[in-house]
């Protein structure tokens, strides 16, 4: 075919230079099917062509790492011969177009990544960002929130994997481009991780799961372009999820993987059959030949182009040992699934696609995977920074502290998210030992004494003000959160959500953020074992805040020593680990109370953070602390209030050392801090081990009474009934949806 023109290339999201590279790789003009295959494999979503040079700088190794980036998910050793397999992924674009299905299929996709590795998925989390739920686009945003939450619930609840935690925030730049990042963690035998490999010429290649339809064609390409008002017309590119089908696939695959008839498995997610065949081949230096006539199809008359590019959900590609076919087929039959042999492994390194015996595509796998373009895109420090980084905090009008606290507690980002997590089955599989909303999520590992703490964190506002430091703070916060539960952080995964990388300012934000993640992870001995990049998060030319989201997994050696955020009993002492500085830049306080997104985000000394994390893990491990809560969004005032919530109204009396006025003392979001409590007689030991760890620690008050009473430098600033504050906090989020309640 030689009718490749500019319009055709444009529809495929390819530029003329990329087309020339395709011609060079093939030594001829591509067929239309081949062009389609190249276009999805070379899309930003699949090829990481803009981000790859930066991602290479991330630390990915460590003594516990069993699998770093490059497979379906990463894996770390958690002892007892077990591995924690986990990853985070975005489904931003589909979730904006069709919130329920977009979010649901995002959950389905990340679950497949985990069980493909031979792991039993045991926990889901999510990180969500939307525009404000009030104002001009409030109604639309509320519909998106409802749809996304229902979609996550609908999929996770049905398949029976608990959604144990997450985070949600609301900021203007996400109005036309919400972020839906989903995380999944599974447990596998450390010596039986399954790889996505196509080894052994002649071994059969099986297709299992849902039939292929015309849905989702060019989904990967869609996720690699900006949005405009015509985006709603792209709805057919969003897939429809079938959690029951995935449940069958999950159980059947895990049953198969208990034996040794399999060679490699890969799920068909973005770029579907194309990606699965070419990547499995490329990883093993082999080829795969398939005939699309064997691919189970949902509708008639599908072309090879459509079959290869379809992103129909709940499909897997398996390479099994020759001679073991019957055994494999029987397992899938047991689960009422049809396993169709669509082809076989070859040793010629080619992806060869036939249609009823006629070759319609023949491409070297390495050209599709390793041969994808790699761009060193131009970068430029954005001009906006000079303006937004300047903040004269001393000139801000003073605020009544208690009123300020109540307003922050009522902001949807800080308010209780029960409306959300109540829709998620967060208890199924009976491992959830810290219930949703009580701190970092913690699931026990049955058959061992251990548990895993998990947290997903990001802060778009900080990253907007300073991408490098904001990204470092995201790593630190996620690690600190799991440490507060008593978990030693052992591995991380990241989801990098940014705007259009073809703009030098966006590329600069991206590069800075990746630097920040790398710096923080190196300092905290935290390997990044995988993740996902989502670019082109722009609608009508407006980019989102640069938003790296970190998922950190921590190991709790003794599950019975797990710590939650809430006060445990009257008379316990309250200790502040870390120091508060005059740091109101980028805070929730500044945004909610003063309507400003300005200043420098809080400073971060990674040595201090490392010391704090070690201290928290040690103190929890020896059973010294009774509660621990990371001090971040909303500052120390909000942190103390949250420690008092869900206790049945137990209060506290606290006196804080003043830092430039009450506002800065109460609402500064200085990093590397935590509020912990301990039995009164343990206070000296606690302060002693803090000193040994080099962490500033100060006894600031006691748990007790029914009032939340916080003084600064001896002057009472906040004095209210815990229940009054809690009412604000627990009703604020629901109030946006009250009209629909019956």
């Amino acid at each position: 075919m030689s009718t490749v023109d500019a319009a055709l290339l444009d529809r495929h999201g390819l530029i003329p230079d990329e087309y020339q590279r395709i011609v060079a790789a093939l030594g001829r003009e591509p067929s239309l099917t081949e062009l389609g295959i190249f276009s999805v494999m070379w899309s930003e979503h699949c090829s990481y062509k803009s981000s790859r040079v930066h991602l290479r700088t991330l630390p990915t190794e460590g003594p516990r790492v069993l699998q770093g980036p490059g497979e379906n998910a990463g894996a770390v050793d958690i002892g007892d011969g077990l591995a924690a397999v986990f990853k985070i992924e975005s489904h931003n674009h589909p979730s904006f177009i069709e919130p329920y299905q977009g979010a649901a299929t995002g959950v389905g996709g990340i679950i497949r990544d985990i069980f493909t590795m031979g792991a039993r998925p045991i926990a889901l989390m999510n990180s969500l960002r939307f525009g404000p739920m009030n104002g001009t686009h409030g109604a639309r945003t509320r519909r998106i929130v409802e749809g996304v939450v229902a979609g996550i619930a609908g999929y996770g609840n049905s398949i029976g994997i608990p959604t144990v935690g997450g985070e949600i925030s609301f900021e203007e730049p996400y109005t036309g481009n919400p972020l839906v990042n989903v995380f999944c963690l599974g447990i596998a035998k450390a010596d039986a991780l399954v790889k996505a490999r196509a080894e052994g010429a002649g071994n059969p290649v099986y297709y299992v799961g849902a039939k292929t339809g015309r849905d989702g064609i060019h989904g990967a390409t869609m996720a690699s372009a900006e949005f405009d008002e015509k985006s709603a017309e792209k709805r057919p590119a969003v897939q429809v999820g079938d959690p029951f089908m995935e449940k069958l696939l999950l159980e059947a695959c895990l049953e198969l993987m208990k034996g040794d008839a399999h060679i490699g498995v890969q799920d068909m997610g973005a770029a579907g059959l194309t990606c699965a065949t070419s990547e499995m081949g490329a990883r093993s230096g082999s080829g795969i030949e398939i005939d699309v006539m064997h691919v189970p199809q949902r509708e008639s008359g599908m072309s090879p182009y459509e079959i290869m590019l379809s992103e129909s959900q709940e499909r897997m590609l398996l390479v099994v040992k020759k001679g073991r076919e019957r055994e494999v087929e029987e397992i899938f039959e047991k689960w009422d699934l049809h396993a169709a042999q669509v082809g076989f492994v070859t040793d010629d390194g080619l992806l060869r696609v036939k249609d009823h015996g006629t070759v319609v595509a023949e491409i070297p796998n390495t050209a599709l995977v390793d041969g994808a373009p790699v761009y060193h895109r131009p970068m430029a420090r954005p001009a906006y920074l000079a303006d937004v980084q300047h903040l004269d905090a001393a000139a801000l009008p003073p605020v009544h502290a208690q009123e300020g606290l109540f307003r922050i507690l009522s902001s949807p980002t800080v308010a209780n998210k029960r409306w959300v997590y109540r829709q998620y089955d967060h208890m199924v599989r009976t491992n959830t030992i810290v219930l949703a909303g009580m701190g970092a999520a913690v699931v026990r590992v049955k058959g061992t004494s251990r548990a895993l703490a998990m947290s997903v964190d990001g802060n778009g506002r900080y990253c907007y003000l300073d991408p490098r430091r904001g990204a470092m703070l995201a790593v630190a916060e996620a690690a600190r959160n799991v440490a507060c539960a008593g978990g030693h952080p052992i591995g991380a995964t990241n989801c990098l959500n940014f705007g259009n990388p073809e703009r030098p300012e966006i590329m600069w934000q991206f590069a800075e953020a990746v630097q920040g993640i790398g710096d923080a992870c190196r300092a905290l001995d935290l390997p990044i074992t995988g993740g996902n990049v989502s670019l082109y998060n722009e609608t009508d030319g407006t980019a989102i805040y640069p938003t790296p989201v970190l998922g950190v997994v921590g190991l709790i050696e003794d599950a019975s020593r797990t710590v939650t955020r809430v006060f445990r009993g009257e008379g316990d002492v309250i200790v502040l680990f870390g120091e508060t500085f005059d740091e109101l830049g980028g805070t929730e306080f500044l945004k909610i109370i003063h309507g400003l997104v300005k200043g420098q985000p809080p400073g971060l000394d990674l040595r201090k953070e490392r010391a704090l994390i070690a201290l928290l893990v040690r103190a929890a491990g020896i059973g010294l602390i009774r509660s621990a809560h990371d001090c971040s969004d909303g500052g120390i005032a909000v942190t103390l209030a949250e420690c008092a919530f869900d206790t049945g109204g137990i209060g506290c009396q606290v006196d804080l050392t003043e830092v430039r006025g009450a506002d800065a003392t109460l609402f500064s979001e200085s990093a590397s801090r935590a509020i912990v409590t301990a039995a009164a007689q343990d206070a000296p030991t606690l302060l002693q081990i803090a000193a040994e760890a080099g962490v500033p620690a100060r006894l600031i008050g006691r748990v007790g009474g029914s009032r939340l009473r916080i003084s600064v430098g001896g002057r009472v600033q906040i004095d209210c009934d815990v229940r009054d504050a809690e009412r604000q906090w627990s009703t604020a989020f629901n109030s946006y949806f009250r009209r629909q309640a019956s």
Binding site: A150, A153, G154, N157, S158, I159, G160, D242, P243, F244, M245, K247, L248, E251, W335, D336, Y421, R422, Q423, Y424, D425, H426, M427, V428, R429, T430, T432, I433, L435, R444, K446, A559, S560, Q740, A741, S742
Partner: protein, 236 residues
């Protein structure tokens, strides 16, 4: 004593029921596949929570036709104790082993949380170790738990003492605010005429260990163990 945990392809609380009976209670337990036609000599049958066959049509609607249900019906007919939890309750209603139906929650949303559940009757194999009026803290996790029956059936259930569990507040009071899904009369669980088949929406198997936030569900399993021990099943 042997528990059979029925596994439909979309069951997802099967492992939880197995864990609670086998590892927490220390009883014998075995999974029974939906295509099986026998119950493998079990003394008690649990129909666990989940989404039996995807439940896109109506919860439990297809499960009633699965091969294993013939054996379950026979077991019920012979007076064997059967506990249907959540989706298992829905399946028992669809299979007409229990009356009524579970409609969508009144607010149309899935609810997962701990709720108060009051034991109304102790004269069933699953509640004989509880005391009447005892308040259990149990998790619910369902989108379709809104119990409905026609007026005649409802009156029969009430007058014959077949409402076994009701949603209540912490003090044991039955009130609309404590009813998470709109169930008629706050009904959380019922039994059949013969009282050997019990279905409830809350999840006792998720409340058998203090690490999970409640051990109140144990009483249902302790009850059936005690009930069978006294009836001599253990001697078999």
């Amino acid at each position: 004593m042997k528990f059979a945990v029925i596994v439909f392809p979309g069951s997802n609380c099967d492992h939880d029921a197995y864990h609670a009976t086998k590892h927490v209670l220390g009883q014998d337990a075995e999974f029974v596949w939906h295509k099986d036609t026998t119950l493998k000599g079990a003394d008690v049958v649990i129909l666990p929570g989940g989404f039996s066959y995807g439940d896109y049509l109506r919860t439990g609607a297809i499960a009633q036709f699965s091969p294993v249900m013939t054996a379950v019906r026979e077991f019920a007919g012979s007076g064997g104790p059967i506990l249907g939890i959540c989706n298992g309750f829905q399946v028992l209603c669809e299979a007409k082993l229990l009356p009524g139906a579970l409609l969508r929650n009144k607010d149309l949303k899935f609810h997962c949380e701990h709720v108060g559940v009051r034991v109304e009757q102790t004269s069933t194999p699953f509640t004989n170790r509880a005391s009447a009026g005892q308040v259990l803290k149990l998790p619910i996790a369902h989108g379709e738990g809104n119990y409905f029956a026609d007026q005649v059936t409802l009156e029969q259930l009430e007058s014959s003492g077949r409402v076994i569990f009701r949603y209540c507040d912490n003090g044991g009071r039955i009130a609309d605010e404590a009813n998470p899904n709109g169930s008629l009369n706050g009904i959380a669980g019922i039994c059949n005429d013969r009282r050997n088949v019990v279905g409830l929406m809350p999840h006792p198997e998720r409340a058998c260990e203090s690490a999970l936030g409640s051990e109140d569900g144990l009483v249902l399993f302790d009850s059936v163990v005690a009930s069978l021990a006294s009836s001599g099943a253990l001697m078999a």
